[in-house]
């Protein structure tokens, strides 16, 4: 009735990989954040696929919670970004390195 599960898993894996690469390759902090969202979405897809494959609602519960937490995370993250970067235009992630040890 529908495409077999592993195909979705593969897709999610590829999406995750793209997100990971983008996270490291981009310098704009907001784009990096979007790549994080990509990865989260990949995980969501994986969970739903497994919910279907294993015939268990637990996967969808997980997605539910991941959505909530992702939203909260975006709120706080954007708050931090705004707090740090509002002064400067064109700030990038590389400019915040005061944690250098």
């Amino acid at each position: 009735m529908s495409v077999p599960g592993p195909w979705y898993l593969v897709l999610a894996a590829v999406l995750f990989g793209i997100g990971a690469t983008g996270l490291v390759a981009r310098r704009n902090i907001l784009v990096m954040y979007m790549c994080i969202e990509l990865m989260l979405n990949a995980v969501n897809l994986t969970f739903v696929t497994f919910a279907r494959m294993l015939n268990d609602i637990g996967g969808q519960d997980a997605v539910f919670f991941i959505l909530v937490v992702a939203a909260a995370e975006v709120v706080v993250g954007l708050g931090i970004i705004v707090a740090i970067y509002r002064r400067r235009a064109g700030a990038t992630a590389d400019d915040v390195n005061s944690l250098k040890g």
């Binding site: 990971a20 996270l23 490291v24 310098r27 902090i29 990096m32 992630a93 590389d94 915040v96 390195n97 005061s98 944690l99 250098k100 040890g101």
Partner: protein, 672 residues
């Protein structure tokens, strides 16, 4: 017989515990009485056990009483138990007896010493350890007692540890003992290796239904001669250390820094006899190890002779007696080596009596002389201290081997066995007996006869004394060695040296009686009075039978007596005056320079070795390793710090790499 044996061991332990916890509160003299009561009770229990033992037939007088299982480990089942047989009971009897007497003496002697309670703590612990050593039923438990007496010796020699000399002497005693203990330990290993057990019943055999079994039966092929030789040689090494024979005797002389009761108890009567006891105990093994017997006899003879020569030239009253102890211990080993164990034990008993007596008397003299120990500054004390003089005289005659005092009989018993073994050694032994008489007479002459040189003597520096060594106080006091060095007020008494209090004089009397009558224990010359020999014979079936004819025995006795009398008169005559430098060559005064040689060796190469170990190995390698690790960690930290770039993306990629690694692990695990 059974229950009393436990009491023998338990009472000193109890006394130790009481004095340890409550001693300071009990104070003097109650703490001393507690200790004496414990020792006395132990002696009574020993008597009861002995009487019970006598009630049994001669061939069933062995009891193995187990107390608890101590080390049950993989094949080694060492327990704590008591082995009650004639040998151990003989030892216990005179150990506890002499201990009681000396405890009593110490109450008076340690009067006003700030460490009074501590003294009796140690004394009781010592008695407990000695009893354990003697009554143990396996080598390991006995070794526990062995180490215990060594430790107590350390604590008591260094009793006045504020004096550096005493502390150093205590250390020397302990370390030298330790050198011997290595032998004992390795012997234990060998014993376990060969016999699979450390119990006397297994290793040495026992009496079953009147018949000796195991090694006691002397059955041929029971053990290889080389194994027995190795074991007994190593045990003898331990005995050398503990009983101060060549070459490990050097500690005994320095141990005279301890209080005189200690010298009397530990270094004359009991602890130093532990080595003799040990070698007697392994008599069945010695039966197979003829080489060791010869070694024992030789070392004993050598020590006897060496120490006697040195004693002839000593000025210190206690050091003379110390060398005398070494010499007499040599006699005991001569007997053991020749196979006549009963003779050795007989001499041990009589020696305990008269040597303790001599030491205690010396203590009284030292007290009277306000802690001076130089015999050249004494003299003529017989007039002022008659009781002490008489008792000291009993001891003197006993040790000189004059009939009918105890020493005559025991020394003759020893020399008989040696004659049977080797005439030359007998000759040396007899000559040494003469030397013994000579130096003891010298001592008696210097101390008790002649002019009262102490009147002109320089006062002891630390307190204000008049010429007689008394301060203006005038209180009666007990006696203590080195009191002036301890900073205590000097003993002040009426004005002149006099006999001590009853607590100190009574022991002297008791021991004097024992010295006079002690020969009655074993009149081997007269046949039916050889109580000790008969008492001990069931457990020494492998002892050498003395086949010397009675006529020869009498001849030898008379010859020895003559030699001793010659020595005695020589000593008395010559030393009426104190100045005979030609009779005291430096060689002898400096103890054949052996101590100096040892000191030079220790100071030279050993110290250099120790310096290497301390500075190169310890500071360089060990500390270097530890600090090096710290430095390494710091360096690695500095390197790892570069991971903290502060850049967000580096961290992100770190997470990515970590993810890759984890996934890789999972992937590769799939195949397994």
């Amino acid at each position: 017989m059974v229950n009393a044996a436990y009491v023998i061991v338990a009472l000193p332990l109890l006394g130790f515990a009481i004095n340890l916890v409550l001693g300071r509160r009990l104070g003097e003299p109650l703490a001393g009485w507690v200790g004496t009561a414990a020792a006395g009770g132990s002696f009574v229990a020993a008597l009861i056990t002995w009487v019970a033992m006598l009630g049994k037939p001669a061939t069933e007088r062995v009891a193995d009483l187990s107390i608890l299982s101590w080390i049950p480990v993989a094949g080694l089942h060492a327990g704590m138990g008591l082995w009650v047989d004639p040998l151990s009971l003989t030892m216990v009897l005179f150990v506890t007896g002499v201990s009681t007497v000396i405890h009593l003496y110490s109450i008076g002697y340690m009067h006003r010493d700030p460490g009074f309670a501590r003294f009796f703590v140690y004394l009781n612990l010592f008695l407990f350890s000695m009893v354990v050593l003697v009554l143990a039923d396996n080598f390991l438990f006995s070794f526990l007692g062995w180490e215990g007496v060594g430790f107590c010796s350390y604590g008591l020699v260094g009793f006045w540890f504020q004096r550096e000399v005493a502390a150093v002497a205590a250390k020397k005693a302990f370390v030298t003992n330790r050198v011997g203990d290595v032998g004992f330990l390795i012997a234990i290993f060998f014993i376990f290796d060969h016999f699979g057990s450390l119990n006397y019943s297994t290793v040495l055999g026992t009496l079953v239904g009147g018949h000796p079994t195991g090694l006691m039966a002397g059955a041929p092929g029971a053990i290889a001669g080389s194994t027995a030789t190795a074991i007994t040689m190593l045990l003898f090494l331990g005995a050398i250390g503990k009983s101060a024979q060549i070459p490990l005797y050097i500690w005994l002389v320095d141990a005279m820094e301890g209080p005189t009761p200690i010298s009397a108890l530990i270094h004359a009567a009991t602890m130093v006899t532990a080595g003799v006891y040990l070698m007697s105990r392994v008599a069945p093994l010695l039966h197979y190890a003829h080489a060791t017997s010869w070694v024992i006899v030789s070392f004993g003879t050598g020590s006897a002779f060496l120490a006697a020569t040195i004693a002839c030239a000593q000025d210190d009253i206690k050091k003379t007696l110390a060398y005398s102890t070494i010499s007499q211990l040599g006699y005991m080993f001569m007997a053991i080596g020749s196979g006549d164990y009963a003779a050795g034990l007989f001499h041990m008993m009589t020696h305990a009596f008269f040597k303790a007596l001599l030491f205690l008397g010396a203590g009284a003299v030292i007290h009277a002389m306000a802690d001076r120990q130089d015999m050249k500054q004494m003299g003529g004390l017989a007039r002022y201290m008659p009781l002490t003089a008489i008792t000291f005289g009993c001891g003197w005659l006993a040790i000189s081997g004059i009939v009918p005092f105890a020493g005559f009989w025991s020394k003759d018993a020893v020399l008989e066995g040696v004659w049977q073994m080797n005439k030359v050694l007998w000759g040396i032994g007899a000559f040494t007996a003469g030397l013994t008489a000579y130096y003891m007479s010298r001592q008696v002459a210097l101390v008790f006869t002649g002019q009262a040189r102490w009147r002109e003597a320089r006062p002891v520096p630390l307190e204000a004394h008049d010429a007689g060594g008394h301060d203006a106080g005038g209180n009666e006091a007990g006696g203590h060695d080195g009191a002036s060095q301890r900073g205590l007020p000097a003993p002040a008494h009426g004005g002149e040296p006099h006999d001590a209090t009853w607590t100190m004089s009574l022991p002297l009397v008791i021991l004097a009686i024992a010295s006079v009558l002690g020969g009655g224990i074993d009149f081997t010359a007269f046949g039916h009075f050889d109580f000790l020999t008969r008492f001990l014979s069931p457990i020494f079936p492998t002892a050498t039978t003395i086949t010397v004819s009675t006529a020869t025995k009498w001849t030898l006795s008379l010859v020895t007596l003559a030699i001793c009398l010659v020595g005695l008169t020589l000593g008395l005559r010559t030393w009426r005056t104190a100045e005979h430098p030609q009779l005291e060559p430096t060689f002898l005064r400096r103890a054949w320079f052996i101590d100096d040689t040892v000191a030079a060796t220790v100071n030279g190469p050993l110290r250099a070795g120790a310096a290497v170990l301390a500075f190169v190995v310890d500071r360089g390698i060990v500390d270097g390793a530890v600090n090096g690790i710290a430095g390494l960690l710091e360096a690695s930290g500095r390197v790892a710090r570069r991971l903290q770039t502060g850049y967000l993306r580096t961290y992100a990629i770190g997470i990515g790499v970590g993810l890759v690694v984890v996934l890789a692990y999972l992937t590769f695990r799939v195949g397994s």
